[in-house]
Assembly symmetry: C2
Amino acid sequence: MPTDRDRDALRPGEVAVDAGAPGDARLRFIGRIHTPWATRDDCPRQGRMDGPECRVEVFAPWDAALKGLEAYETVELLYWLDRGRRDLVLQSPKSDGVTTGTFALRSPVRPNPIGTSLVRLVKVSGSNLIVRGLDCLDGTPLVDIKPDRCEFTPKAPPKG
Amino acid sequence: MPTDRDRDALRPGEVAVDAGAPGDARLRFIGRIHTPWATRDDCPRQGRMDGPECRVEVFAPWDAALKGLEAYETVELLYWLDRGRRDLVLQSPKSDGVTTGTFALRSPVRPNPIGTSLVRLVKVSGSNLIVRGLDCLDGTPLVDIKPDRCEFTPKAPPKG
C-alpha cells in the first residue's frame, strides 16, 4: 500500500520550486467534513450530485452564520487539502502521466491547497449540513460555505 | 465618501464574534489581479462574462504552472478579499438590509475571505491571463487558478 512519502516522490517530468514558507495570509478552520473516504485512493476523482450523503460540521461560533442557507439548493464549499506537497509547478498525474501545469489541473497538490466543490444541499440540521457531491477525504478541514453563484434569489424565502 | 471605518461599523441586526486570530493554515499569494475598479463602490455586484477584460498576473516561479491552461475556455480563480472584517456571523447587506447568515451570502466579509469566480479565459500571454467575468478590486491578491470543474477534457489538446 503506498505511503504518503511514496506519493510525494516526484514522477517523471514533475518540477518542484523552492518558494519558502507561505505567510501572506492566514486561514481559520470553521468546521470539518465527514465523508465515507478514509484514504486518498478511496476518494472518487470527482464528486457526483447523486453520490453518498456527507456531513459538513460547522464549529461554534460560526454555526450562527448558517442562517438562511437552507433556502439554497446548491452551495459551494471551500476546504483545505492538507495532505500533499505545495511546491510543484509541473505534475504528471498517475491517471495519464501527461506532464501538465499545476494550474491546468484540479489536483490537491498546489501552492494553496484549497478545494472547491458545488454540492447539493439536502438539509441543514442544527450546525450540520447534509450534502451530496463531495469527493474529499474524511476529516477534511472546512474553510468556507457560500451560496451557489448562479442562485442569486433563493428558491424559497429564508425561514425565520 | 465612506471610509473603510464607516463600512466596518455594524449595521442593525449584525453580529460579530470574538474568535481570536486565525492560525490554522497559511496562504501564499501567487499573483495579482488587475481590474478597472479602484474602490469597493466601483466593483460590480457580480462579474459578467461579457464584462471588461482584466489581467491576472502570475508571479514567478508559479507562472511555470500555467502550462496547458490555454486549452480551457473557463477557469476558476481564487483570490483574497483582504479589505473587510472577518468576525461577522450575521450581516445586513446595504442593498436590502435583510439580516442573513454570512454563509448564505457571497459578501467579501467572511471568516476566511476567499473569493471564487468562474471567468472566460481570453488568452494566456506569458505569465499573464486575460480574462472576462471578474468583479474584484484592482490589486486583489491571487490565491489559485483551476480549470473549470465542468470541463474535464480541454476543448483542444494542450499545446507543447
